[in-house]
Amino acid sequence: MCLAIPGRVTEVFEVQNVKMGKANFGGIVKRVCLQYTPEVKIGEYVLVHVGFAISTVDEEEAARTYKLLEEMNQLTELSVPEVDTGTNDAKKE
């Protein structure tokens, strides 16, 4: 469960003073907290654990790690849907 998945940062923005962004994991795009990798820019790669970037990595490392995780069926957590916005969630209730 300590595995971190590499993704390519595609968007960077701020939400209430917290650096957030989106990262692409082999086609699946997810929201990621970038507060712990303040230096990261769009196009760079981060290692993401439970929605938080914990480290930056280079492209080659990202590609190789991703391939291995795919082979080991360790990417299932990406299929857990994100909670949308508060309002949408309220509507679902």
Partner: protein, 383 residues
């Protein structure tokens, strides 16, 4: 391209294994600390590739496995309370408590939700102001920055209906505990890569020096584990005991100091009970007093729960590297991933669950399959 990679990997792997074979002069027992590493080793049969002098034993680094039964029962008791939305990582869903698991509770109408990230719970809390949203905050140091941020933001943003049930565990105290035991067999460690991505590896240096064991911080790929093994054996054969970094492409000595700062603001170190092992001093995190309004253990009055583990299960010995899954009489018989008896079978990253998933309960003890790491489907058994 794929085949080229595999060809290259196979040559590199053979070279590493040959080098280990060349330098090894006596038996050594090495422990990989992290459950993710255990999974890779068993899946690719890394231990079968190594010369017979090298024995790999499997460490306690699966946070789902070592979450105490009392804590799981406490989680279930909180989840059952009215007006609670109980959130958890998917990994915890099938882990049995004394009576049920979270999935069964969900099927009985209890509001249990799987989240990808603890930060998602804040959205759920905002959208449901009349409910109490509780997140089951398990994990090692890798997960602590995420869980810390969820509480930090809840306090900053005044989200009062969000709390976390903290069951955080720390790697270095567990390693010290293993080394202090009179039963200890471990002579060198493959250290946990992603834990060190957050924490760096400075705190492993005193352990290596005090107990005179090499600790090589190692990644998760088959090549990483082979190389980490080679580096550890090299040290052992040379009589050295140092911290080395095999995973330098990701890990620095200092780690992620931004993340460490927030973790230290939100959490403080406490004693923690580990499933199968028992209490280890200063081996966990709890919330600091300033964050008590978000501490589920304070907010929900849960009576002390009496729990009893299976008397057949030897998971405590497996987690400390004293025994291996197949040393257990119940392994693959009374104890399976469908009906786990203890810690190391409850999660896919537990040593017993990994052995079971890859069919090792069907092999004789003496089988040493000539593992081919480039085809990672060795005796996979469909569960």
């Amino acid at each position: 391209m794929k085949y080229l990679d595999e060809y290259r990997d196979e040559k590199v792997a053979k070279n590493i294994v040959n080098e280990i074979r060349r330098i090894v002069t006596r038996p050594w027992v090495l422990m990989e600390v992290c459950g993710g590493q255990t999974h890779t080793i068993v899946k690719y049969g890394i231990d079968y590739l190594l010369p017979s002098e090298i024995e790999l034993v499997h460490g306690p680094g699966c946070p789902v496995c070592v979450t105490s039964l009392e804590m799981i029962d406490k989680a279930h008791a909180i989840a059952r309370q009215p007006d609670v939305i109980f959130c958890s990582f998917g990994d915890m869903l099938r882990v049995p408590g004394s009576e049920v698991d979270l999935l069964i509770l969900k099927s009985r109408g209890v509001d249990v939700r799987i989240v990808y990230s603890p930060i998602d719970c804040l959205k759920i809390a905002k959208a449901n102001p009349d409910k109490k949203v509780v997140f089951f905050a398990i994990g090692f140091e890798t997960t602590a920055p995420a869980n810390a941020m969820s509480v930090w933001l809840a306090k900053e943003q005044g989200i009062k209906n969000f709390s976390i049930l903290v069951s955080h565990v720390l790697v270095p105290p567990a390693m010290s505990s293993i080394l202090q035991s009179p039963m200890n067999r471990v002579q060198g460690f493959l250290g946990p890569g992603h834990v060190c991505a957050v924490m760096g590896y400075r705190e492993y240096e005193p352990i290596s020096a005090r107990y005179k064991v090499p600790i090589v911080i190692t990644g998760f790929e088959p090549m990483d584990l082979l190389e980490g093994t080679l580096m550890t054996v090299r040290q052992l054969e040379a009589g050295k005991a140092e911290v080395e970094n095999q995973y330098a492409r990701v890990i620095t000595r200092e780690g992620n100091t931004v993340a460490q700062n927030l973790v230290n603001k939100v959490f403080e170190v406490c004693d923690r009970k580990w499933r199968g092992i028992g209490s280890i001093p200063k081996s966990g995190y709890k919330l600091r007093y300033e964050f008590r309004e978000h501490d589920a253990e304070r907010l929900f009055e849960v009576e002390e729960i009496d729990t009893q583990e299976s008397s057949l299960c030897i998971s405590g010995l497996v987690l400390r590297g004293v025994k291996k899954p197949r040393d257990c009489a119940a392994f693959g018989k009374e104890c399976t991933t469908e009906h786990p008896l203890g810690a190391t079978m409850v999660s896919a990253e537990g040593a017993c669950a990994a052995y079971y998933a890859y069919g090792r309960h069907l092999q004789s003890q003496k089988t040493t399959v000539a593992a081919d790491f480039s085809r990672p489907t060795e005796a996979e058994v469909t569960q």
